[in-house]
Symmetry: C2
DNA sequence: CATTGTGTTCAATATGTATTGAACGCAATG
DNA sequence: CATTGCGTTCAATACATATTGAACACAATG
């Protein structure tokens, strides 16, 4: 028969796998799961010992998770260590992690779209044929439309409601 | 003044960066963008020459993109090479890529949730205190609820409509 | 004010995986 | 039926980046 410890560890391993395949390392997922399945707030020390990871990695991962609102700092009187517990607002966490992943890229994509449209409106096309220009205009337009739809989806009340 | 070629290449680079940060390599994004901004269907040869990538990589990337419905095969009479063009149904592509990313992990997560619930219903808890059990039950329940919500969101008509 | 207990930083390293390229299978061609 | 042109495969490699660990800063303690 399984032990409660086994199940805990399986969740931790699964969470690690998840964050791994998602492109954040294993530690992020493992740390969150470890704290999630702990009844007491956990310190960096707890993390390094329970998970066998380095202090440096634990420190950085915890800060990352804090930025996503996945962990919150907890003060324990008389204790000098920092303690953390999970917030468990999964939707909100995912939302912030998504912004983190595609945010910068989306910005540069917007910039590029603007540049393209500027170029299309400009007169001096530097030897591009009318066909080239029409083709490019069509492609850029489609991208812009999709960009708009994605933006709308992201900000839609339905998403805000469900992903929160 | 910018050349039309410059803009094309900037889009290709940006697409490469995007797929890179998303955890699929650079080539996938570059290939899609290159074909997207080509008026004629493109062959593996075109890809290796224009993008400076290997034949092997081009072959595998094209298959991946085909599986996501991002590229479709195109027959040109009298030609022995395989030619491809983009489908441009961005939403659908993203949907399939997402399934690819989290699909297997989601399955194993479901399995783990089921195992946990089975364990919680079972009698022989192997030395776990009542508190341990109650705590674990609460945590598993929250995860299950979120899983349900995520599933609902994924299958919701709004998402289906907008991500398609 | 020296010491001890913290968390942070960042260059070095380990790790996962994207990418290559040579070998292969297969079909079309002459 | 040998040859040429094509796409595929997969072990070797390159590459991006996650992770480490020693050095550091800072605050609390005696």
């Amino acid at each position: 028969m399984n032990d409660v410890k086994d199940i805990r560890e399986q969740f931790i391993a699964a969470a690690g796998d998840l964050t791994q395949t998602l492109g954040f390392g294993r530690n992020i997922g493992q740390i969150y799961a470890h704290i999630y399945f702990s009844s007491d707030p956990q310190s960096l020390d707890n993390l390094t010992h329970s998970l066998g990871i380095s202090k440096g990695s634990a420190s950085m991962s915890v800060r990352q998770l804090e930025q996503w609102g996945a962990l919150k700092h907890v003060w324990i009187k008389g204790e000098r260590k920092d303690y953390y517990q999970t917030t468990e607002e999964f939707g909100k966490i995912i939302r912030k992690a998504l912004v983190d992943m595609v945010g910068r890229t989306a910005e540069s994509a917007d910039h590029l779209l603007n540049e393209s449209e500027k170029w299309l409106k400009h007169n001096n096309k530097n030897g591009a044929t009318p066909d080239d220009i029409a083709f490019m205009a069509e492609k850029v337009k489609k991208l812009r439309n999709f960009r708009r739809r994605a933006q709308g989806l992201w900000n839609s009340p339905v998403i805000r409601l469900l992903l929160k």
